[in-house]
Amino acid sequence: MLANIFLKTTRDRVTGVAVGTVAVAAMFAFGMAVYRTIDVSFYYQLPEAYLDLIGLPEGGDIGGLAFGALFNTIGALTLGGLAISMGTASIAGEEADGTIGLLLGNPKSRTHVLLSKAGSILLLMTLAMLLLWGVGYVLPSMLDVSTAGLETNALMFHMLVNTIFYGFLALAIGAWTGNGSTASGIAGGIMVIGWLAVGILPLIESIDWVARVFPWYYYSGSDPISNGTNWAHIAILVGASAVLAIVGYIGVNRRDLKSRSVKRTLLDRLRANPRTAKVANRIAGTARVSGIMAKTASDHQGLLVITGAIMFYMSVLIGVFWRFLPESIFDALENFPDAIIAMIGGANMASAEGWFQAEIFSLTAPVAGFALTIVIGSKALAGEEQKHTMDLLMANPLSRSRIIIQKAGTMAIYALLLGAITFLGVWLGAFFGGAEVSWTGIAATSLLFSLLSMVMGGVALMLSAATGRTRIANYGALGVAIVAYFVFSFLPLSDQLANWAKLSPFYYFLGSNPLVNGMNWGHAGVLAGLTVVLIALSIPLFQRRDLRG
């Protein structure tokens, strides 16, 4: 597997892609199995607009629900995320690692490197899609679930082309700028915002055409699972991917390549200017290295800004949309079946609280919160070990437990800050949108959201402490988060399994319907207690093992 750049890249990435794809396949299987145990008649009562919003096909059945719920949303986002990660690592990642020079020390051109990386994205995403296609083909017959009337092949085809588009977008930005954060940030942002916009904008007749601006529209806008392949949309995505490949080709060939060089930030410029040096030094220099907590906070402030900005923007936007929702949708939402209400944490969708709960707190907020705390948790210890800075840190008179507690402290403070930003965004969104939601409900839900994020960060920290490997910590915590989400969202649909939902930390986040009922201190205590237990468990796990050098 080390014969050439293409194979080496494929080898490096195959595990991550396999884990992500298998997780999606497992969720699909889990979802379909749970749907079999419940009465899905409610499905036929849902308004068409809402089906569009949550990505479910019209006229399907259990199979349609499973395909729609998963592959139209989480599955496509997960695979898009994997492709973005590959695209980012392609050129910008090699530059950040300082390995691009070594690679080009061999008789290989920049174009060769770019094409090898692009080829690897194509191969792995195709294999991932084949795996999902296989599962989607075999599983329904195994579970005796009908997929009649569903254009599953078309859905998979659309998803493959969509996934490659986002991979190539990150690749092109990375090749052009050499900056990994810019590549993953812009590509991820365009994907997530597009996904949300394409879900919501069609509900508002006057501006529904705006959805066409977003690339995601050409994946799901034509509803391929119901209507089959839309070749015009496919052509647009393929054409755009080709353009991106050309942009990447020009980008990587036109500029000086970086070698582990460090970005020059605004603060760096202020520090270099004698007039501002004193103040800037205080902010960027002395303050951020005053201790482990400050240093950890400084390391992750970019991530807090990004997740905070997404949460703030989304919360305000969703609030504003409330004002524009057509009256007709409320009657349908009013009569939502219990099963769906259970799925979104018991909120009444026709109420403002239900709207915010379904659109912000049930999925978007946890994704942003977990991205923040899982990254901090996994990098806290394993990140220092993998970057070989732990030895130097441990040469100081600090106990291992002190390092854990201080890093965990930063993670908790950041989770609280993200909760506060979310509170502000939802409160402003409700204000601008004229939605009646009590501020105490928003505050309670935001605090519970912070606590839930801390739990997942705690899982990542514990795995980081136990193994010293960020990959295990990241994927492990992500796996726990996904299972927890599904246990909370799907088990309540079955009367026999409903009580098991209490095993999920999500239950203690939304289970008490805090937007309506306010704070449930018992539930907050469970989440805080879980966090403390996870951090406490991390200490002996970290103390007893050899540090990786």
Binding site: R260, G291, K295, H388, L392, A395, N396, L398, R544, D546
Partner: protein
């Protein structure tokens, strides 16, 4: 006096791999101790074990009389450490990096830091990620010395440093020893150890082969003898002379590593050949070092 470092039967296994076997070592206060060995000999494993970064399979170690596991945090108040393959935080400047570690450690005199930076000609205003390998290493050296610790442990510290800076660095190590503090210097740059160390421990395949003073090692009297003839000569003729450890022939000349009676060597040289010239010099540590290992290999 309490030894700066003392290990007793220190052993570390990674599964089947025996990285360190029954290491008994004592480093005194006020000395520079060189720890020599080829790559993979167990130098870094030894250092990481005594610093409690990894845990011994058996055996124990003390630093300044304190158990390295039980008192690991207290010990770090009294040591400076420079790891091999030094990695720091790329987005921090040199000054930020030193400030961070000074804050974590406490009690660092910034005048001393500035002095060290000046002596090593280190520009601390650059970001670590923008520094060359040598300049990064200078920051690493400063952080190891800046709190004037009782013991400085350094793993391959000279990599990337230019000869002028290396000389200053060696002077700094000697000053530490002169003040009654200690330096534990792991290296395979033998000439450096030769210049600064009082004693040398040689490690191979996880075992301590020997500990000797640098002078004793030199007095092992391995000499590098070069013989020039007026006709071509064969190496085999000299290989059997007592004391010849290695012989290389190059047309009219021979280079011999030799620790026997010179008289015997000259007899063979002049018996059948016309000896034109002869040079003889003291072997450097490199040759002594290689000799040890060759002997070991032969025994194996």
């Amino acid at each position: 006096m309490t030894p700066a470092i003392l290990t007793e039967g220190l052993t570390k296994h990674y599964g089947e791999v025996k990285a360190l076997i029954d290491l008994d070592l004592s480093v005194s206060q006020g000395e520079v101790f060189g720890f020599l060995g080829p790559n993979g000999a167990g130098k870094t494993t030894t250092i990481r074990t005594i610093l409690d970064l990894i845990r011994p399979t058996r055996g124990r170690a003390t630093i300044l009389g304190m158990d390295t596991h039980e008192k690991s945090v207290e010990i770090r108040d009294h040591i400076g450490y420079l790891p091999s393959e030094l990695a720091m935080y790329p987005s921090l400047t040199g000054k930020d990096t030193l400030t961070y570690f000074a804050n974590l450690r406490g009690g660092v005199d910034w005048k001393h830091v500035d002095e060290l930076a000046e002596r090593l000609d280190s520009d601390l205003s650059l970001k670590v990620g923008d520094m060359s390998g040598g300049n990064r290493q200078k920051v690493g050296v400063i952080q190891a010395f800046m709190n004037k610790p009782q013991l400085i442990v350094m793993d391959e510290p000279s990599s990337g440093l230019d000869p002028l800076v290396q000389r200053e660095f060696q002077k700094m190590m000697r000053e530490v020893a002169a003040e009654g503090r200690s330096v534990f210097l792991s290296s395979h740059t033998l000439s450096e150890v030769q210049r600064v160390a009082d004693r040398v421990g040689i490690i191979r395949h996880g075992r301590l082969v020997d500990v000797e003073s640098v002078n004793d090692l030199r007095s092992k009297a391995i000499r590098r003898v070069e013989l020039f003839f007026d006709t071509p000569v064969e190496a085999d003729e000299f290989a059997t002379v007592a004391g010849v450890r290695e012989v290389k022939a190059n047309q009219h000349s021979l280079v011999i590593s030799f620790d026997g009676e010179m008289d015997q060597l000259l007899k063979v040289a002049t018996n059948h050949h016309n000896l034109v010239d002869i040079t003889s010099q003291e072997a450097d540590l490199e040759e002594i070092f290689l000799t040890y290992y060759e002997d070991e290999e032969l025994e194996a």
